[in-house]
């Protein structure tokens, strides 16, 4: 069980809603994944319509909504979008995404910290998407975020855990849950993130653009579960040196 803010989750697989070829398939795949926290871009949602097709398909007891601010370029826009999301979707949960660079969608650490500080004060449960920067994670923790979401590699790149050395430091130091978000391209990447102690992973592209999103969602579900079990069972760590049968120090006992 994983607790973030005021919610407890059985599944440690969080999912996104973009890039699917239909909302029906999205819903089927997300149900299959077991995911209980689903993020969707505010820009894709028509908050003025009672018939918004994405929201309609996500209206299911399994799913908790995590609106995200994808598309905003600075703290001011993020706060504006967050307040709109809270009012329209009646949730104070927020995935804070500020990536002014539309090419690689890399997060702006300065604007993210400014926005996080203000949004926490305004009563939001803030989950910021950030680079795998251990110091920034501690600063965000001090600001009162509910979890940190460092990237494994650029969004949608499917390149896996390129930042693993820094993720390990973040996980070691963090007092809030660590959700590895972005770049996870294969179930083995998700399993690896869980094995090193991440509290959860967030996956979208790898499921949505596969040839069989429902089967891929199931594969991720199993990988996340396996990775977590392995972490809790304490992995046998590889030993970087040989265990010599004729130790060099055996002579000491003979003195």
């Amino acid at each position: 069980m994983l607790t973030i803010g005021d919610k407890t989750f059985n599944s440690r697989l969080f999912t996104g809603t973009g890039k699917f070829n239909s909302s029906e398939l999205m819903k089927t795949a997300l149900l299959e994944s077991g995911s209980e926290l689903v993020t969707m871009a505010l820009k894709r949602v028509d908050v003025n319509s009672n018939e918004d097709h994405i929201l309609g398909y996500l209206d299911h007891p399994q799913f908790n909504l995590l609106p995200n601010t994808s598309g905003v370029r600075n703290a001011k826009e993020a706060i504006f979008a967050a307040e709109l999301a809270r009012e329209a979707l009646e949730t104070n949960w927020l995935k804070l995404e500020i990536h002014p660079d539309p090419k690689y969608l890399l997060p702006d650490p300065v604007e993210t910290l400014i926005a996080a500080e203000q949004l926490v004060k305004k009563g939001f449960i803030v989950l910021p998407y950030i680079h795998a920067d251990p110091v920034l994670c501690k600063r965000l923790e001090e600001a009162g975020v509910a979890a940190v979401m460092p990237l494994g590699s650029p969004i949608g790149s499917n390149k896996g855990l390129k930042t693993i050395d820094f993720l390990e430091i973040i996980i070691e130091q963090s007092n809030v849950p660590v959700v590895v978000d972005a770049g996870i391209g294969a179930p083995s990447d998700a399993a690896k993130a869980m094995e090193i102690g991440a509290d959860a992973v967030l996956v979208n592209t790898a499921i949505a653009v596969s040839d069989n999103p429902v089967a891929m969602a199931r594969a991720f579900k199993m990988a996340v579960e396996a990775g977590r079990i392995a972490y809790e069972a304490k992995l046998a760590h590889p030993i970087g040196h040989a265990s010599a049968s004729s130790p060099l120090t055996s002579f000491i006992d003979e003195l």
């Binding site: 890039k19 820009k43 028509d46 001011k76 504006f80 979008a81 949608g156 592209t205 653009v209």
Partner: protein, 371 residues
Amino acid sequence: MSFSEIFRSYNWDDVKSKIYSKTSQDVENAISRPQRNLEDFMALISPAAAPYLEQMAQLSHRLTQKRFGKTIQMYIPMYLSNECQNICTYCGFSLDNKIPRRTLTEKEILSEIEHIKAMGYDHILLVTGEANKTVGPEYFKKAFKLINPSFSHISLEVQPLDQHEYEELIPLGLNTVLVYQETYHQEDYKKHHPKGKKSNFDYRLETPDRLGRAGIHKIGLGVLFGLEDWRTDSFFTALHLQYLERKYWKTKYSISFPRLRPHAGGLTPKVEMTDRELVQLICAYRIFNEEVELSLSTRESNKFRDNVIKLGITSISAGSKTNPGGYANAPESLEQFEIDDQRSPAQIAEMLTRQGYEPVWKDWDRAYGGV
């Protein structure tokens, strides 16, 4: 360094001969590299790449799905005016074409909006000729106030404006500006634009810079295929794109692919661009730049559009009218050019769904700009 300076450091004929001298090996290298540069782009648009079209299409398909998923953005043009002070050899709105001129009133704009909203659209592209005195920034401001409440995303394809004029429109809801250089061949540009403000090649060339400085969200680039050698013109478009991406790194970019279409006082294309060549170019752009949006209008045929959406295109229009008032007020008035794909938005959406794509009607929110 401005783009004008970079542009002046290139010679059209040298670039052209470089493109036409690319070899199979150059193409294979470009396809197999993890990241491509402008030299690779030259190879991908060269005649040497023709035998590799299927390989390029497969790669373009994969790269597009990875970045954009199984979705296609839907947008529609709304022509506000066909008044124009320019003489352009290829355009139905050209000043020397004796056609009835029309600029929509506020009431007419509202009824056009009503018709467009009924089709399901949330992204709109506003188009005019170039008549700065009557259809200039003040007219646009009034139009934006009427249009902004009904659409999440507003694009503009009008005469180039000054930086401060863009800065005044952005808070009113302006998100994207499309400005096509038509051709980067300076001498030919002069021939095709003999009269009017559009004859100023440099002012047009520097428009994306003014937009970048104004902090616009998205800039659309392109050339009109048929005026000059499409390969060389496309190289300069890619050069422009690369410069802009590096300098105005917070701005998004899109590329369009207009081919000359029949119109009043029609111009025969100097250079024909075949369907195969257009597919090659679409794939080349995607392989060169995995993030740029690629847009295709109703100028192209049903069959072509149905097939090319899988090869790199990320946004299409449907049900378009290219005359002011064409949706509700004056369906019979003269079009800027003839459209080919006459299907309704619902029919296009159905076609996309059938092919395993989701038509996306909304992918922006006014709240993001604090509008």
